[in-house]
């Protein structure tokens, strides 16, 4: 019989403690933000999709040697890199750098395998589109367009 009343006491007490916890939470400030209007600071180190690195600030040339290591090492096969020999230029010239973001798993192996640091991660994270084609990036165009 005493156990019966002890159960009621301990049970009731634990329930009141629980109510206390949630009551404290009502008073505390809200932790979420209204996303499209407010944004939280996103670290610049985020590994987004890849991007060709600019030669320097004002120069829209890039470092790529067309060695093809990135495309070769990519586990998802989402990179297409092509180059051609041109008169008067040493080595190959990059003509195609297609990047299929729909296949990419964002592992970063391409950036690591690049011997010239011609690739980098973008810190863009708000990517949305209506068709798949919007995520087939032409990185050369993106580089020039910027």
């Amino acid at each position: 019989m005493s156990g019966y009343f002890r159960d009621i006491y301990t049970g009731g007490k634990s329930l009141l403690i629980g109510l206390g916890v949630t009551f404290k939470a009502i008073i505390k400030p809200v932790v979420t933000v209204q996303y499209p209007r407010e944004k939280i600071d996103v670290t610049p180190n985020i590994r987004g999709h890849i991007e060709l690195v600019r030669f320097d600030e004002n120069d829209s040339r890039h470092n790529c040697l067309v060695c093809g290591m990135c495309a070769k090492n990519c586990p998802c096969g989402c990179l297409t890199v092509e180059g051609e020999k041109r008169e008067g230029v040493k080595g190959k010239v990059l003509t195609v750098f297609d990047y299929d973001f729909t296949k990419c798993s964002l592992c970063g192996i391409c950036v690591e395998s690049c011997s010239r640091t011609a690739l980098t991660f973008s810190s863009e994270y708000e990517l949305a589109g209506f068709s798949r084609q919007e995520f087939h990036f032409d990185l050369i165009k993106r580089l020039e367009g910027k």
């Binding site: 329930l15 109510l19 916890v21 939470a25 009502i26 809200v30 932790v31 979420t32």
Partner: protein, 334 residues
């Protein structure tokens, strides 16, 4: 204008029609306000914002949700009993309006005053179980069926402590008339002040939570077990009516608690309680109780079915019985 008022006064049927239309409006308004408050408070408990997009602080959200539900198709499952499936939401909703008619919002503001108002309300409130049973059975879905069965067993078990706890108030006032019960509590001596009736009040609140299928006793719609319980198959305004009726039942539960135990439309410390101030006091008590129920809902996990039954038969019913005996003894003594 005078002609219209005369007309209304002559034809009592017309008066009732108008009263019922107003009451339906109040039931929907209550659902909108409570739905909004519930979402906002749940959000604050969980440290979110809740609805914020439509209107200032999202206050139009529930109205738009209602409009959305009206615009949706009412899907009747293939092997469902079409007639009963359509009937169930109405059967759930109608008693709520009928109960609202008998609630004394203040001394002069009520639909009908009945001498047996309390019995009427309790009888009407039990129709809700039929609606849930019919909804669960007619949708021809195993999850719905589980929800319906649970609801019936739960309601049968919890009617008893509710009745027993209310009976102790009836013993004290010797009346089923809600107006008389409220008048008996005028001044500051609300019934919840007396220790024996306070116990009855607590028992009523717990049992009322279970009666209205609110968490932590929301077994008929336990979404992690039964997806959505008895209204799994409902869409559009069939579902909407269930939601409206749920909030309506919550309102009824809280208003009976405030009438029976917290002095109804009496202001605290004998403050003025005219027709409008009385309604204000009444509504504020009801809303405080409903907010407590929301707060409880967003705090606790759900109980298991047999534990729910244990709570009713092993704790609430013995306590309310003993309490009733003590009350009867005290009433005889004094």
């Amino acid at each position: 204008m005078q002609q219209i008022i005369d007309l209304i006064q002559t034809y009592s049927l017309l008066r009732m029609l108008i009263a019922f239309l107003v009451l339906i409006g109040i039931v929907f308004l209550n659902a909108i306000v409570m739905g909004y408050l519930e979402r906002k408070i749940a959000a604050r408990i969980q440290r979110r914002w809740g609805p914020m997009e439509i209107g200032v602080q999202g206050w139009l959200q529930m109205i738009l949700d209602g409009v959305k539900m009206l615009a949706k198709q009412l899907i009747v499952p293939r092997d469902a009993d079409r007639f009963l499936f359509r009937l169930a939401p109405l059967l759930c909703f109608t008693p709520v309006v009928m109960i609202f008619a008998a609630l004394p919002f203040s001394k002069a503001l009520y639909g009908i005053n009945l001498h047996i108002g309390l019995i009427y309300i309790i009888a009407m409130a039990s129709i809700n179980v039929f609606a849930i049973l019919i909804a669960g059975w007619s949708s021809n879905n195993k999850y719905s069926m589980f929800g319906a069965m649970r609801s019936v067993a739960q309601n049968i078990a919890y009617e008893i402590p509710i009745l027993l706890s209310l009976l102790s108030v009836v013993l004290t006032t010797a009346s089923f008339d809600l107006q008389k019960i409220v008048e008996a509590q005028s001044g500051w001596l609300w019934f919840a002040v007396y220790p024996n009736l306070f116990v009855a009040f607590v028992i009523y609140l717990i049992a009322g939570c279970a009666e209205t299928n609110r968490a932590p006793f929301d077994l008929p719609e336990a979404e992690s077990e039964l997806t959505a319980g008895f209204h799994t198959e409902y869409s559009g305004f069939g579902f909407g009516l269930f939601a409206v009726a749920e909030y309506g039942n919550l309102f009824i539960m809280a208003s009976i608690a405030s009438i029976m135990f917290l002095g109804g439309w009496n202001g605290p410390f004998g403050l003025a309680s005219g027709p409008l101030m009385g309604a204000f006091w009444f509504l504020s008590k009801v809303f405080v109780l409903m907010l407590v129920m929301i707060w409880v809902r967003w705090t606790y996990p759900r109980v298991r079915f047999d534990q729910l039954m244990n709570l009713a038969w092993k704790y609430l019913i013995p306590f309310s019985l003993v309490n009733l005996l003590i009350t009867a003894f005290l009433v005889k003594m004094i």
